[in-house]
Amino acid sequence: MYGLITDLERAFRTNNRRWSTEPSLGGWPRLSHKDTDTSLVFALELPGFSEKDVQVTLEHGQLTVSGKRQTSAPVGHRALRLERGDFSFSQSFALGVPVDADNTAAVFKNGVLTVTVPKAEARPRQVPITVASA
């Protein structure tokens, strides 16, 4: 009897000592932003989120991404180990450049949200002038 209980408690201990891994904890959600010639691209790791769990707003030159994930035990199951957890976040980014808000796109793929904000096209400064020969 005691043997059985001990065995269950030991179950799912992780065997990672021989694999040197960087801890993935902290600073979650991981995010990155890229400034390209034509757009600003923001990417956030949001595993287990779906479209309805995330809000993306763009106003006053600021992009805000917020969301909430709730995890729950599958029906009829009890937790042995909980690392993922419930999570809510709100992250704002000052854009700093004029953007084309109407064409901003947000795409969810494999638990990664990518928001692409196109930069407003610079207005042509050169005005063609017809030079008449004297």
Partner: protein
């Protein structure tokens, strides 16, 4: 950016550039939740950015391994996810199933029949 040089004289005077060293891989360990039910155990693992084709789940002896190749958020740095678990005695290894959705892997590990809970009739003495 490299340009092909067709002029022999110039190409001989050119120094041979060593190849850029291979980009270091980032290694991550997925966060997991482990649950137990009457008939199975379930492992949920966060693997953002991993596609089903790049995920491998395998068992060796009593060890369950999750390995996956992905790409970091910058879109270029290769990422390797790894985690291994000691399987509890009584796991029906041939019945393990895996589903990857929205960056979360769900593994279902059925218990061998003899481990499933059942109520035992109590007789009065």
């Amino acid at each position: 950016m490299t340009t092909e040089n067709t002029q022999a004289t110039e190409s001989t005077s050119k120094e041979v550039q060593p190849r850029e060293p291979a980009q270091p891989r980032a290694r991550f360990q997925p966060r997991v939740d482990v649950y137990e039910g009457d008939a199975d155990w379930m492992i949920l693992a966060d693997l953002p950015g991993v596609q089903p084709a790049d995920l491998k789940v395998s068992t060796e002896a009593a060890e369950l391994r999750i390995t996956a190749q992905g790409v970091a958020l910058d879109g270029s740095t290769p990422v390797e996810w790894r985690r291994a678990f000691q399987l509890p005695r009584g796991t029906a290894i041939e019945g393990i199933s895996a589903l990857l959705k929205d960056g979360v892997l769900t593994l279902t590990l059925p218990k061998a029949a003899e481990l499933r809970s059942r109520s035992i009739e109590v007789h009065g003495g």
